[in-house]
């Protein structure tokens, strides 16, 4: 089988667009942090990207079908790692998200659980042969995602927990979700809303209320939202060369979740729209790869990546333009941060994996 595997079938177009986004992200990180204590973050980002690309190539060499064979073990390992976090995790800023590893490394399992969930959901739906989803399948699929999601929610890490939802939704939708089931999902979400509100930590509620009415607390929790809006808005069509909001550090910690706001300020509507176009091309290219996947599982895997990526973009850019509350979700490929970069490249590795095997069978 391996003789069919060739890097000629590697999706170089996708890779180039992804690299382009990474480079733009790095440049913006460099510009936004130049005068802050985070200066030099773009170099670290570069190391992560290089490491990510390495992981991607390695991932693309592994046969995803072999991975899917063993996905139940991986799923068990994922649940176990989340439990380890719950018990031994490092408490930081009121949340238990990291496990301290030997050698000073901090490991955040909730990121790679995302990857395992993509595979697990893909495997589950690929094994189903029906055109339409039965209620029991519906519940089981929900449980596969729901259990780790609740565990991450308990850390608490609302942002990451929410990113699990699109994986389930994508699986359900492509797996043959019926209208009534779709209504059930909507109904369930509606019922969960007040319950979720009740379960939120005060700071999380504050984020939500400040999103709805940022002016109410200009200097408190609404500060980031307002400064982000000002940054984006003052960028105008062609961008503000002074880049004042970012460069004078009115926009707090611009290199992570608010990198798009910094970019939009510096490069304006034209620049920001161009970046969105790049993302759109990447997503369309991924969907195309899903269509040409050798099997159902491959399609599900790639579409799972599409779901996560789209959700990240929706929530992050939505937050920057004031459509979404601040949830602490990074913009994939551009935001500074090792976990995020590694996840994206590992996910892309699986996508390449699927693509490179498109002519198999």
């Amino acid at each position: 089988m391996s003789r069919y595997i060739s890097f000629r079938d590697f999706d170089w177009v996708l890779f180039i667009f992804v690299l382009l986004l990474c480079v733009l992200g790095m440049m913006e990180i460099r510009s936004a942090t130049a005068h802050t204590k985070f200066a030099g973050a773009h170099i670290k980002q570069l190391y992560w990207i290089v490491a990510g690309i390495g992981c991607m190539f390695m991932m693309s060499l592994l046969n995803y079908q072999v991975l899917l064979e063993r996905v139940h073990w991986m799923y068990i390992a994922a649940i176990a790692s989340l439990m380890v976090v719950m018990i031994f995790g490092q408490k930081y800023l009121g949340a238990r998200r990291w496990v301290k590893m030997p050698g000073g490394w901090h490991f955040q399992p909730s990121e790679w659980v995302k990857l395992i969930l993509i595979l697990a959901v893909a495997k589950y739906f690929a094994d189903l042969q029906q055109r339409e989803l039965s209620w029991s399948d519906f519940v089981k699929a929900g449980a596969i995602v729901g259990v780790p999601m609740l565990m991450v929610l308990a850390q608490p890490d609302l942002g990451t927990a929410l990113t699990y939802i699109p994986i389930a939704l994508m699986g359900l939708f492509l797996g043959g979700l019926r209208t009534r089931q779709a209504l059930a999902v909507v109904l369930l979400a509606g019922l969960m809303m007040p319950l979720a509100w009740h379960g939120l930590k005060p700071y999380q509620r504050e984020r939500l209320t400040s999103f709805l009415e940022p002016e109410a607390d200009r200097q408190g929790s609404g500060y980031q939202v307002i400064q982000s809006l000002i940054a984006v808005g003052s960028g105008g069509i062609w961008g503000s060369s002074a880049g004042s909001q970012t460069h004078l550090s009115f926009l707090p910690v611009p290199q992570t979740d608010f990198i798009f706001a910094a970019f939009a300020e510096e490069h304006g509507f034209v620049g920001a729209l161009s970046v969105m176009l790049l993302y759109f091309i990447v997503l369309m290219r991924l969907t195309q790869n899903a269509q040409t996947a050798p099997d159902r599982a491959g399609t599900f895997v790639v579409m799972g990546v599409v779901a996560v990526l789209s959700f990240h973009i929706l929530v992050n850019i939505g937050m920057v333009v004031g459509f979404m509350p601040v949830t602490g979700i990074p913009l994939p490929l551009m935001s500074y941060g090792g976990s995020s970069v590694l996840f994206m490249f590992l996910a892309l590795g699986i996508v390449m994996n699927v693509r490179m095997r498109r002519f198999v069978n």
Partner: protein, 657 residues
């Protein structure tokens, strides 16, 4: 084994693509709305964020005495503050900072914690008006403690211990009430303005024009670039008519008493000294007065904030007899009036005592001069009865009693000069003739301020020239701020020279052995005046209060003195609250007069120094065309302009060879 034929529904995949497209269109709309539609709005907000208008505070003008010596100055005052650079944990430095600034470390930590939630660009103010060694600490720890910084403001430096505090006044942040008044409408909240005294009256002169700096700041408030710099214009220095030497003498003379002293040049109305006791320290207001301190000043029974020289309205007692004598003489009644003082007399069925009974004496036969220097009450009771309240009120009013003198100080009070109309107007009651008798010795409803008394007596001693008092010379002020006053600058009240001599000679005898204040006599100085002891409550009420009343409501001692007795250069009025006797006040005045005369004798007279004209006598003959000696001899006096460099008189005067 995975190669299932059942493909995922392509329709649903396409649907996903459309959903993604939809999401992107919504996000693009969001961007368009912010960056294209509302771009100006946000650009404006960003501008407000980063451009800060930093006011450059203009220092207030200094306040100088008549010789240009500084009374009130400014000093740069530094406030220590913490810039909150997020990269440092400020609480770690708290101990060192607290040590350097002499603060409690716990307090510093509490402050840092307290402001932890507020935005970063707001600095934490640690300490106002830090000392030089604290400033040195900050300067020397710039590297270790980069977050510790200072801002500078000019603060008022007033004389210590409340010296001249009432006249000078104090400054403070402009209040809401003041901002609503038309003369303060151009001021901004936070401006420092005069709140009382000269500081308030001449605020417009003293207050400079704040400059401003437009600067780009970062989120921590640090200035990274200056766009525009308008320097501040400092306020103009204000020269007062006050003579610092005399002020010192007056302050010393009043030490240990409550009351007031005001010294004035009756020739031109220039106030030479003004003291009020008890006093307050305006420096306490210069930084930020604490609530307790303010309450203490306001609620003090002795009213330390009150400028008693212009704001105390009290019965003038026997000093009023100068007005009475003037009225009596001008009306032609007092010249030949002689009364026998047996320690009292009965008027309208009531017995009025003369003060002399307290010394178990009587005055015997009293004429107008003895009535003044011995302050005989019986004489003035009789004179009051003959004059009637109408004529008394006429003269008193003529010399400015019962109305504001128009001095250029805020919140002057008018005092009270009772009359029949006054009583009907205020009490809807008829005037009782018996009340006139009390008014005759400056009791009853008569109430004056020390300034009014100096003003009136100074005018009488000057032969009727009543000059409006003022603390600044109009020529020292910018042309646009000459204070408008409804009171005329000077009024000449016709006064018979004979009467003038009688009164002033009798006043000179007051400080002679035959007078009421012999202990105030000044050897070799033509000092004249009039004592007064005024009851603060009626004798009846005092009797009712018993011993307590006697100690609490002691008489007020007054003295108003002039030097020389006629056309005086200076008039001084002293009020010693609970000073019992006028002669104590006379000694107080004598100290000030003595200081004045001694100073005048040390320095050459003002006329010789200041005049640019000289009057010379000359004799000359007509210069005959043919040179004969026939021409008439002429004599005369010439007024010559003196050149800057003084020429010998011989060459300066024409016709003198």
């Amino acid at each position: 084994m995975y190669g299932r034929d059942e493909k995922v529904s392509p329709i649903r995949l396409t649907a996903v693509q459309y959903i993604v497209l939809g999401i992107f269109l919504i996000l693009a709309y969001g961007l368009w709305r912010l960056q294209v539609v509302q771009s100006d709005f946000y650009a404006n907000l960003a501008e407000k964020n980063r451009i800060r208008n930093v006011p450059i505070l203009a220092p207030r003008g200094r306040i100088l005495d008549r010789e240009g010596r500084t009374i009130v100055d400014n000093y740069p005052s530094f406030t220590a503050l913490l810039l909150r650079d997020s990269s440092r944990d400020l609480t770690l430095d708290a101990d060192l900072i607290a040590q350097g600034l002499h603060l409690d470390p716990k307090e510093v930590k509490d402050r840092i914690r307290h402001f932890a939630a507020s935005p970063q660009y707001q600095p934490i103010y640690l300490k106002d008006d830090i000392t030089p060694d604290e400033l040195a600490f900050i300067e020397s720890h710039r590297n270790e403690l980069p977050e510790l910084d200072t801002i500078m403001a000019h603060r008022r430096l007033y004389p210590r211990n409340g010296f001249m505090a009432h006249l000078v006044g104090y400054v403070g942040e402009v209040s809401e009430d003041m901002l609503n008044q038309p003369q303060f409408e151009l001021y901004n909240p936070g401006d420092i303005v005069g709140k009382s005294g000269v500081e308030l009256e001449y605020n417009q002169v003293l207050m400079g024009k704040n400059g401003s700096r437009r600067a780009v700041v970062n989120s921590r408030g640090k200035e990274v670039q200056t766009l525009e710099d308008t320097p501040a214009e400092s306020g103009r220095a204000l020269k007062l008519t006050v003579d610092l030497d005399l002020q010192i003498a007056a302050e010393q003379a009043l030490a240990g008493h409550n009351g007031a002293i005001v010294a004035m040049d009756p020739r031109n109305g220039e106030i030479l000294a003004m003291v009020s006791r008890p006093t307050f320290d305006p420096n306490d207001f210069a930084v930020r007065i604490s609530h307790d301190e303010w309450a203490k000043l306001v609620n003090d029974d002795d009213h330390p904030l009150l400028n008693k020289a212009i704001q105390a309205q009290l019965a003038p007692g026997s000093t009023f007899k100068i007005i009475m004598a003037t009225a009596g003489l001008q009306e032609g009644i007092a010249q030949d009036m002689h009364v026998v003082c047996n320690g009292g007399a009965t008027f309208y069925g009531r017995y009025f005592k003369c003060w002399v009974t307290a010394e178990h004496r009587v005055h015997g036969v009293v004429g107008i001069d003895k009535a003044i220097y011995q302050s005989c009450d019986v004489f003035f009771y009789t004179l009051a009865e003959r004059l009637g309240i109408g004529r008394i009120a006429k003269y008193a009013t003529m010399f400015g009693l019962g109305q504001r003198t128009g001095i250029d100080l805020p919140q002057e009070v008018s005092g009270v000069m009772p009359s029949e109309e006054w009583k009907i107007r205020n009490f809807k009651q008829k005037w009782y003739a018996g009340e006139t008798i009390s008014v005759g010795i400056g009791q009853g409803a008569v109430a004056v301020t020390p300034l009014q008394l100096a003003h009136a007596v100074g005018a009488i001693a000057s032969g009727g020239l009543l000059v409006r008092p003022h603390v600044t010379k109009p020529q020292d002020l910018p042309s646009n701020v000459i204070p408008a006053s409804s009171v005329p600058d000077q009024v000449r009240i016709p006064l018979d020279p004979q009467n003038w001599e009688i009164i002033t000679d009798a006043m000179a005898n007051v400080v002679n052995p035959i007078g009421t204040a012999p202990s105030a006599h000044l050897q070799g100085i033509d000092f004249a005046g009039k004592t007064g002891s005024a009851q603060t409550i009626s004798n009846l009420a005092k009797a009712r209060l018993g011993a307590l009343g006697k100690s609490k409501f002691k008489d007020n001692g007054w003295f108003v003195g002039v030097e020389p007795r006629r056309n005086p250069e200076i008039v001084v009025c002293a009020l010693l609250e609970e000073g019992e006797h006028g002669y104590l006040a006379a000694r107080t005045v004598a100290q000030v007069i003595k200081a004045h005369v001694e100073k005048q004798r040390r320095t050459p007279s003002k006329i010789a120094k200041g005049s640019s004209k000289v009057e010379v006598g000359a004799v000359w003959g007509d210069a005959d065309p043919d040179g004969s000696d026939q021409g008439a001899v002429h004599a005369g006096r010439l007024v010559l302009d003196l050149p800057k460099e003084r020429l010998p008189l011989a060459t300066a005067a024409p016709g003198v060879n």
